[in-house]
């Protein structure tokens, strides 16, 4: 289950291979997508656009357009089930994780094109991915005569040493 902040609805995927969108106000069902063959396993709602991504048992990731009620993009980066996925709070990046711990990074601003793949030597027992909220930090930049001698210090590091 996932909450779509921009569309104000709850998205669910279930064992009956359906993906449903529920109105948050009255809990009526708005949209239903069915996948007769592939079992949906993981969901991620885009924080600003009316789209969401679904990871399937086959390893395929599909981007659904809510307003057009159709699949907008489809990528197959893995050959094992996708267990977990998440959008960055800014909506720029999407990360999908396979059951064997492999990770794919997608650029959500450029048609969800994959930009990086990361693999593990030994598969983890559980798979999870999480983003932090973006924070603004003031950084003191100490300049030198050469560009490569420039160093920066976070305000958090300064405060932790005082």
């Amino acid at each position: 289950m996932e909450y779509h902040l921009a569309y104000r609805s709850i998205i669910t995927c279930s064992r009956d291979k359906s993906i449903r969108l529920w109105n948050i106000e009255n809990f009526d069902q708005n949209v239903e997508f069915t996948s007769p063959i592939d079992q949906p396993l993981a969901l991620a709602a885009h924080p600003t656009r009316h789209i969401f991504s679904v990871g399937f048992e086959s390893g395929t990731m599909r981007i659904f357009d809510i307003e057009k009620t159709k699949v907008a993009e489809e990528f197959t980066q893995f050959n094992k089930p996708i267990k977990c996925m998440a959008y960055a709070p800014t909506g720029d990046l999407l990360i999908t994780c396979s059951v064997d711990g492999s990770v794919a990074l997608h650029n959500a601003n450029r048609g969800h094109l994959p930009i990086k793949m990361m693999h593990l030597e030994f598969a983890p027992m559980y798979v999870h991915v999480a983003f932090s909220e973006p924070i603004t930090r003031q950084r003191l930049l100490a300049g030198g005569p050469r560009i490569d001698s420039t160093s920066s210090v976070d305000d958090s590091q300064i405060s932790s040493h005082i």
Binding site: A86, A88, P89, T90, D92, L93, I95, C97, G101, V103, L105, K116, M118, L120, E121, F122, A123, P124, M125, Y126, V127, H128, V129, A130, F131, S132, E133, P134, I135, T136, R137, Q138, R139, L140, L141, A142, G143, G144, P145, R146, I147, T150, S152, S156, Q157, S160
Partner: protein, 158 residues
């Protein structure tokens, strides 16, 4: 609905074109802030403001947490927990990460070093495994769901 969203965009545009007096005052105190790249190119000193965001993924065997910078995708922290990790969340101020382990505990690590610094742990959170955990937006509360069919709300400041 559309008109409401249109007004909100206008407001945000107006705010962007006329920065608040508080912002101007802050810039005066710090002598104004420059773009980090331009300062680096000129080899000058100054105070820059950067937006920082991290993401975490599982390490080998699921015993460690790998934390990357979202912009550069550079490994920033590798936290060896010594137990199988089930899930994790970053605190709102990006100083700590809360890790749920298979032995029914919630461990807190500070992100001040590459390998993380163990801060504290919550034991006996649930009688059985902790299936899910999340933090409130202000970081004041933590909610956990357990395999013992209980949902618990925790005050993280206490």
């Amino acid at each position: 609905m559309n008109s409401m969203s249109g007004n909100s965009y206008q407001d945000s545009d107006r705010d962007a074109s006329h920065p608040s007096s508080q912002q101007e005052e802050q810039d005066d105190i710090f002598g104004g802030e420059d773009d980090e790249e331009s300062l680096r190119e000129r080899g000058e000193s100054g105070l820059t403001r950067v937006i920082e965001s991290l993401f975490g993924i599982m390490g080998d065997h699921g015993n460690s947490l790998m934390v990357y910078d979202t912009d550069s995708i550079v490994l920033r922290h590798q936290i060896a927990v010594g137990q199988v990790i089930r899930s994790f969340r970053f605190t709102h101020n990006l100083r700590e990460v809360l890790i749920v382990t298979k032995d029914h505990r919630v461990r807190t690590y500070a992100l001040s070093r590459f390998e993380g610094v163990f801060v504290k742990e919550l034991t006996s959170v649930h009688r059985e495994g902790i299936s899910s955990m999340d933090l409130s937006k202000n970081g004041g509360y933590m909610v956990t769901g357990g395999d013992d069919n209980l949902i618990k709300l925790w005050d993280t400041d206490a």
